[in-house]
Subunit: 373 residues, 2 copies
């Protein structure tokens, strides 16, 4: 194995690959990146057995790839990334010098690192079910994940709740996430008749979003066992969550008794100011709402309390007193990202539903907290 490559392109590919590297892998070879040098391309594969990444660099002007000798090797991900980052030269040379001993050099620096044989690396199929795939703009996909994934559970007690449920049919894509106390639900049109339902671990979806750089479009392919994301010369595939996702239609109240319209910014700032007032690590906001104002109070046993008053834009229904998690309210307002929001209530015991005014594509639902007075 012997090749030269532009430092920038190589570092970008290694950085992408390292997203699948776990520091706690049971399989030694998975702490490495498998590098395969073909006659006209370089291929990097990495995996933590739940998420796997394949990325190729094909000979081209920008990457200045020159292949002297083909071959393959597995190199420790931390070492190779650090070495290529540190070498002070535009071009990086990589060369097998003896068995699995590899020399990496450029500028004044020369590193030697002992790799592993490529046959020790597990076989990973990056096969794609092209019939069961659709294309989506990267920016749109990232927005969907941003607006929903934060609502996933961070506890493993019900694993399926740690994922975002993606459901497609009749030209629509639905993304739902819930930790059973709140729900984020997004619906959008897609240019495909594809039909599927899968639940994808939210941490891998976030990795995918961070990994896609400078690609306008991503192809998403669904399989029984996995979901694959194709962009540029790269594929990321991740495992799915098996259990059945809860029926979110049953969680959303059918009718509402009160409807509030308020400035998102003013509400968000008032909630933020009280956010440090915590009991058992949690901030609870009590809202007293009538036709004119919202009064927000937050207390921390007997030590500390806050009081805010903000004006409503409009309010329909009888006055209401309701409490909820300040963090959940903040998260929902941030995801909605609108100037004016509407909040629908069905009394103090039922979930509230928050939307951007005039936009039904994104719903944020929050269960109230019961407070004892």
């Amino acid at each position: 194995m012997n090749f030269k490559i532009s430092k920038k392109e190589f570092l970008d590919a290694l950085s992408l690959s390292s997203r699948a590297i776990s520091s706690t892998t049971p399989l030694p070879s998975l702490s490495g990146i498998k590098i395969t040098v073909n006659t006209d391309s370089l291929e990097l594969v990495s995996s933590d057995s739940n998420i796997s990444i394949q990325t190729a660099i094909k000979k081209g002007e920008e990457n200045a790839l020159i292949i002297e000798e083909t071959g393959e090797i597995v190199l420790d991900a931390r070492y190779i990334l650090e070495i290529v980052r540190k070498i002070d030269s535009d071009m990086i040379n990589v060369e097998t010098i003896d068995g699995t001993l590899v020399k990496i050099y450029g500028g004044n620096s020369e590193f030697k690192v002992n790799g592993m044989e490529a046959f020790e690396y597990p076989a990973i199929s990056f096969d794609i079910n092209e019939e069961n795939s659709f294309k989506i703009k990267t920016a749109v996909f990232e927005e969907v994940i941003d607006q929903t994934s934060f609502a996933c559970s961070d506890k493993e007690t019900r694993p399926v709740l740690t994922g975002v449920n993606l459901k497609a049919g009749s030209g629509k894509l639905h993304a739902n996430a819930t930790d059973s106390y709140r729900l984020a639900s997004k619906t959008l049109d897609i240019d495909s008749d594809i039909f599927f339902e899968v639940t994808v671990p939210s941490k891998y979806l976030n990795e995918v979003c961070h990994a896609i750089v400078n690609e306008e479009e991503v192809t998403i392919a669904i399989d029984n066992q996995k979901i694959s994301f194709l962009f540029g010369d790269s594929i990321i595939e991740t495992r799915l969550l098996d259990d059945e996702f809860p029926d979110i239609a049953r969680l959303i109240p059918l009718s509402f008794g009160q409807k509030l319209t308020v400035s998102a910014k003013e509400l968000s700032r008032a909630v933020d100011r009280a956010s440090f007032i915590k009991t058992d690590g949690k901030n609870t906001i009590k809202m007293s709402i009538d036709g004119e104002k919202i009064e927000l109070t937050s207390t921390n046993q007997t030590m500390l309390s806050s009081f805010e008053r903000i004006a409503v834009i409009s309010y329909e229904g009888s006055p209401l007193e309701i409490s909820c998690s300040g963090k959940y309210l903040q998260d929902a307002l941030k995801a909605i990202d609108g100037e004016v929001v509407t909040i629908n209530f069905s009394g103090e015991l039922k979930p509230m539903v928050i939307k951007k005014e005039g936009d039904d594509s994104l719903i944020q639902l929050i269960s109230p907290v019961r407070t004892y007075r």
Copy 2:
């Protein structure tokens, strides 16, 4: 107690005060800031019993301080800082409403916090021994601490080594710090005949450096028990370390066999590139030096090695092979901050002494590491 004050000035004073607050104080009142409202000034006191801060805000145009009623109270530092930071208003109002219950308000927000009686706060004397004091430019003082304090020990096995030794006499100030493997030694002229020797915990010296903002000069006063730093309307005093500081003159070799002159930047970059190659968490650099070049190698058992070659500017003496901690070499080069450095050696077993070319005011000494070949 009842006063109004500009948010900015109050927040600055509270931020300064909070530098003395420890999250693990055994005395409940020390988790608070003591606020004393006099007829024409506000005084804040904070302490973790090792470092204590007193800062005053006197009535003036900028701070817009208006005092309606004098009084004193102790308020939890985290709460008061967070409240004042969060209130969205240029002016902050603070008012005792019932016993130790204090209302803090501004803009749309109103916070209530339960404080502690001021008499529960320990008495701290901020007395200054003016006869035993001198003035120094803040920038000069900060440079002295920057160039030496990193060389202190971070282990409590010999407490005196966690401090910087400050020694004055005959119009000179000497600052020395050592962890017994390296030494940083700075000498400078001061405009005073003061005579003293104290060792000050380095973490408090760093706090003092960070605390002094917008003050050109600081007055340093020495006492048997403490050192005090006076700037603007603030005083910071910290305890001293009791044990005798080692005699640093004995640590520096009297004669040298080899003298190297080299570009600090090139050496520093070469050391940095190998810094991730660690054995037992430590990076060791082996330097082979002759009249033309330095070859730097670093190895990590059998997995990984690096090799660098840089040119020397000049070298006197027989060729030398010496190993030392890469981190210590990096720290020393950073503190020296010169384009060209000279390194004096006395063979491979004695400490090396690093200086900026043509400047004897700052000495960085590093003990070699014995390597087994």
